[in-house]
């Protein structure tokens, strides 16, 4: 974490689609609330084949320790050797834990209520190892790597987080009946770590049954830990259950760095530039970042304003059934911050 003269410097990667416009709104809210954070903006051009942009971004994050980012598009027209930039960022910085907290919001209409699930997803290996080859023409192998070290590490993270947050149960999601060695190893590591946390209940569930349970009785889940791909599926299912991609923030933690973004990592190309995107997820992600920087008062102030707009004022964007524009929602949030009597700049 970089603090100089009381001000923090954070790397900002606008990304593609709705990233740039929503991050501009975040900066506006920060400026208005006099948050002592300066953003170092690094652009990544997803259309280029070279790695220079990504290397700059990674260096900047190493320098500042913390980043806020939009999703970088992965263009299929580029050759397969050009890997997903988002993935490269996560693995280069060893951001091994992806954390997502899915909570039902009272102001949002959904089929299921009272959902409160924390999802901890292994973020660097598994199916996302990007190790593929074409053995002979028309036959492709993709390697899924599971290691003891990373499985222990993520299990440890999950149980520690559960304990810190006063949660009672951790469920490991896997497919060890089919992938006996790979997911078997993951499950074994979770069991080992669980034995060191007797105050927390540990159980496991097969991934296909998990998705079935999530759409019928999501209230049964507390904390869930899983390898990379299942994490992708489960986190998107949960985000959908509480109201969609515009609402849930996500965080990627490593030993030395932390990167904050929306939980479901969508580019939102089709709604970019139309002032209709939901700013909630990225604003809440920026609050998670402020907590990480120990600027808790600012974090709480902005978060409360966002949730008040969502649940009391009920000013909603189209994705959750409302008619508000992005700008209207942001301005409502800023008005609420101002009304609480804290120091603010001009509108």
């Amino acid at each position: 974490i970089v603090v100089y003269g009381g001000r923090h410097t954070v790397t900002l990667i606008p990304g593609d689609g709705i990233g740039p416009e929503l991050l501009n709104h975040v900066r506006e809210v920060f400026r208005f609330s006099c948050v002592p954070v300066d953003f170092e903006v690094v652009h990544v051009n997803s259309a280029l084949e070279t790695d220079d942009d990504m290397n700059n971004a990674i260096t900047a994050i190493r320098r500042n320790g913390v980043a806020l980012k939009g999703n970088i598009e992965t263009k299929h027209t580029l050759p397969a050797s050009v890997k997903s930039r988002n993935n490269v960022l996560r693995t280069s910085l060893d951001l091994y834990a992806n954390v997502m907290h899915c909570q039902s919001l009272p102001g949002v209409q959904t089929r299921h209520k009272n959902i409160d699930i924390m999802i901890i997803r292994e973020n660097t290996e598994g199916e996302y190892s990007s190790l593929e080859h074409e053995s002979v023409s028309g036959v492709v192998e993709s390697l899924k790597i599971i290691t003891r070290n990373n499985s222990l590490r993520i299990a440890e993270y999950a149980f520690q987080l559960a304990r810190d947050k006063g949660r009672r149960r951790v469920t490991a999601v896997h497919k060890a009946n089919i992938m006996k060695l790979g997911d078997g190893l993951f499950l074994q590591c979770c069991k080992e770590v669980a034995s060191g946390y007797p105050d927390i209940t540990f159980d496991s569930m097969i991934v296909d049954n998990t998705t079935m349970q999530l759409v019928s009785k999501p209230q049964q889940f507390d904390v869930m830990v899983m390898p990379n791909l299942y994490g992708n599926v489960v986190s998107n299912v949960c985000a959908g259950l509480v109201g969609g991609p515009g609402l849930v923030p996500g965080a990627n933690y490593g030993r030395d760095y932390a990167v904050f973004e929306t939980a479901t990592r969508n580019t939102g190309k089709s709604i970019a530039g139309r002032n209709i995107a939901n700013p909630t997820a990225l604003l809440l992600a920026s609050c998670m970042m402020l907590d990480h920087l120990e600027l808790n008062d600012h974090a709480t102030s902005i978060r409360n304003a966002v949730l008040t707009t969502m649940n009391e004022t009920r000013l909603h964007t189209a994705d959750i059934g409302g008619q508000g524009t992005t700008l209207e929602v942001v301005q409502s949030i800023m008005r609420i911050i101002q009304s609480k009597g804290q120091l603010t700049s001009e509108f």
Partner: protein
């Protein structure tokens, strides 16, 4: 009235004379066009006799398998479905050379009848042989797993108006079973994607869409992360889509599908995908309509064999107590009838089943009632006969 066989033969001869012998699906499409809407479409290689009975291999299975199978047999009889059942057992036996295989009489029956209906099979633990489902899949090269998920009116779930079909590649992908420990603490699982299997499943998906009047096919993938493997799968889907311009083709990331599916499942029609995604998504969709107790499933093989099955477990705790719910197996039987071209019988039985569930008078415990399996079955039989 001409028997359908005679009509088929005439049409075939007509085609052959004019166009010469054409390959595969082009010929089949031509066949249905020439003879028009009166012909019941023949899916893959199933030629049937309209007047006579068609043989189906019945595998009751374990646990509640036998009782739900006999429930289905009763209902089919009440509906006068022209099906004659050949019951067979499927337990693994060791063949010559030490390889595990299914009993030869079961294989022979299935090869002859080409159609099977199967109840749940026990998963052996430490029995020394692979699961029976895996053996069946390998024996008949069951490459496509098809699960239509339709909301059951009268069985309330938080989701209504679900009407989609998941088509899952069932032979390769993440379930190739190739795993090894490279060094202590590092395990590598291999996901295999081949051009042939991808093309085959894509062709099946589009053929299914066309034969069942579905308007779009969506390929589900993660080609942003698995560039080469899912990229190959996607490319094959795109190529096959070119030959089916009447069907709309879209692509969607797996996570986006999950995200959208739980918010609005009505936007999906036919979904085609590799093995693991298919496993997860098909169960997710089953959850939307009420779970595995009410979801039908079919497996299509390479040489014309099709096995329809219920995908729930054997429920040993209620086996033999007349408490089981035969809906999943029954709806799989309905899927089977449609595959055989017996649409009227399929419609009758499905309607009777849905009406019974909607009336809520004789529901089994898992559906929220406390009636017996035999009472539930009798109610459906009665309705089926009344519909005649």
């Amino acid at each position: 009235m001409f028997s359908l066989v005679a009509v088929n033969h005439l049409a075939v001869k007509h085609c052959e004379q004019i166009f010469g012998i054409m390959a595969g699906s082009a010929w089949r499409s031509m066949l249905t066009q020439v003879v028009g809407g009166t012909v019941r479409r023949c899916t893959l290689n199933s030629v049937h006799l309209s007047k006579g009975m068609q043989t189906v291999t019945l595998i009751p299975g374990d646990g509640i398998g036998p009782e739900i199978s006999s429930a289905v047999v009763k209902i089919f009889q009440a509906a006068n479905a022209p099906v004659s059942w050949e019951e067979r057992n499927v337990t693994a036996i060791k063949g010559p050379g030490g390889r595990w295989m299914i009993p030869p009489d079961a294989k022979e029956s299935m090869d002859r009848s080409k159609i099977g209906l199967k109840g749940p099979l026990k998963t052996p633990i430490a029995a020394g042989h692979p699961s029976m489902n895996l053996l069946l899949r390998k024996t008949f090269d069951l490459y496509a797993n098809v699960r239509p998920c339709i909301s059951i009116e009268g069985y309330k779930t938080p989701y209504t108006d679900v009407d989609l079909v998941t088509i899952r590649e069932n032979t390769e992908g993440e379930y190739s079973g190739i795993e090894h420990q490279i060094v202590d603490g590092v395990v590598q699982s291999i996901k295999l994607i081949t051009e042939n299997a991808s093309r085959r499943i894509a062709e099946y998906a589009f053929e299914y869409a066309r034969n069942n009047q579905r308007s779009s096919v969506t390929a589900v993938h993660k080609a942003n992360i698995m560039r080469m493997s899912d990229g190959l799968f996607l490319r094959k889907c795109r190529e096959v889509a070119e030959s089916y311009k009447d069907i709309k083709f879209t692509e969607m990331y797996l996570d986006t599908v999950c995200l959208n599916m739980v918010q609005d499942p009505t936007q999906f029609d036919v979904l085609v995908m590799p093995n693991l995604y298919g496993d997860i998504l098909s169960d997710l969709c089953a959850g939307l309509i009420g779970g595995l107790g009410v979801t039908p499933s079919g497996n299509i093989g390479a040489n014309g064999v099709a096995i329809f099955e219920s995908v729930h477990g054997t429920a040993p705790d209620i086996a033999g107590l007349d408490l089981a719910n035969p809906t999943a197996l029954l709806l799989s039987g309905v899927m089977m009838l449609r595959h055989m071209g017996l649409h009227d019988h399929a419609h009758k039985i499905q309607k009777a089943c849905f009406d019974t569930i909607r009336e809520k008078k004789v529901l089994t415990k898992d559906l929220g009632g406390n009636s017996k399996c035999s009472e539930f079955t009798a109610d459906i039989c009665r309705r089926v006969q009344d519909l005649d």
